[in-house]
Symmetry: C2
């Protein structure tokens, strides 16, 4: 694509390097930015540069943070003895959005995936284990994806944490609210029958 | 969405302000950028700021350019007496990609659209008319979209340019190459019958 300006060309290439954005979309976005005022564009590019410069990872849980300790870990009203283990910081946001969890988190930064060369040593597992002892954690909730990698990671963590004599639980798996049984996959439906529980009136 | 860092929040809001990018995609892109090295992120944000700072619009045709005159207008091997009028600079790129046109362009910067409050005075029409006289242009090709606004603009330009005694043509409209007749819309098919031309062996 010949765009008759090397500056535009360069910006388009950078934007197109983002995941899921092709050359045509990148060009559309670049031309959109070009139509804005200079100060708006400076705000745009500055916000990205500043994000990279200032964001840290919480030393305790691995969540992103503007301080050494993230807002969740430094909140005195949350229970530091219950830790929810997640793969990614987007999972933290998703669980926070439910407003159903009052403990702290631990972000692994991925899952064990031998195919991609990611072993336990590449994840924040050592810090989880030391934290369990230091903070006298009494329950670890595993909230990992239901994939082969997620299950492998869950099993690995279960073995490690169970050795310490700590209770390990996993978030419930079953038929989603609003889902019709006939369209639910066999594995989920099968598990939901095996893991049935006493009827509760809601 | 609570993202536990005001820098991330700010970057996500800026990215989500781009057309066609929602909050979730913006977060995904911001987290992707966060994983890159600091110099990569500086390149990214710098390329956008520099684009805005350095890009000019060609004084002759309105195309984007790094100089006062764009590469097409300043190319001595192109015919300055044939001018192709387009709506947008992406149309210039599209026509350039065909390698079938050797004249110059004129970018209107939009089409006449009373619904959006865009009249002839908001487009680069005055510069087109003065250019036709100054450069002794002998053919103007209208390459506008086949929409009501495009047709209105075409008709307006035709009247203005025809007055000057200059030949005005329009790019051919018809059934696209590779299209099946039964799936072609009635208007296009109808026009393609009316505007039929002598059979040519290709």
């Amino acid at each position: 694509m010949d765009v008759s300006s090397k500056y535009l060309q360069h910006a388009v290439e950078e934007i197109a390097s983002l995941p899921g954005i092709g050359k045509k979309t990148a060009l559309r976005l670049a031309l959109h930015l070009l139509k804005r005022t200079k100060s708006e564009v400076e705000h745009f590019s500055g916000s990205i540069a500043q994000m990279k410069e200032h964001i840290q990872f919480c030393q305790k849980c691995g969540n992103i943070s503007d301080e050494e300790k993230c807002g969740i870990c430094s909140n005195p009203r949350r229970d530091p003895q219950v830790v929810c283990v997640v793969e990614d910081l987007r999972d933290v946001m998703a669980i926070e959005a439910t407003q159903q969890f009052n403990g702290l988190y631990h972000v692994l930064g991925g899952v064990i995936s031998p195919m991609d060369g990611i072993g336990p040593g590449d994840l924040n597992i050592a810090s989880l284990l030391s934290r369990i002892e230091d903070d006298k954690v009494n329950e670890v909730i595993l909230a990992l994806s239901v994939t082969m990698e997620g299950d492998t990671t869950g099993f690995y963590l279960y073995k490690k944490i169970h050795q310490l004599g700590i209770e390990v639980s996993s978030i419930a798996r079953g038929v989603s609210i609003g889902d019709e049984l006939q369209y639910t996959d066999e594995l989920t439906l099968g598990r939901s029958i095996i893991q049935r529980r006493p009827y509760e009136q809601v």
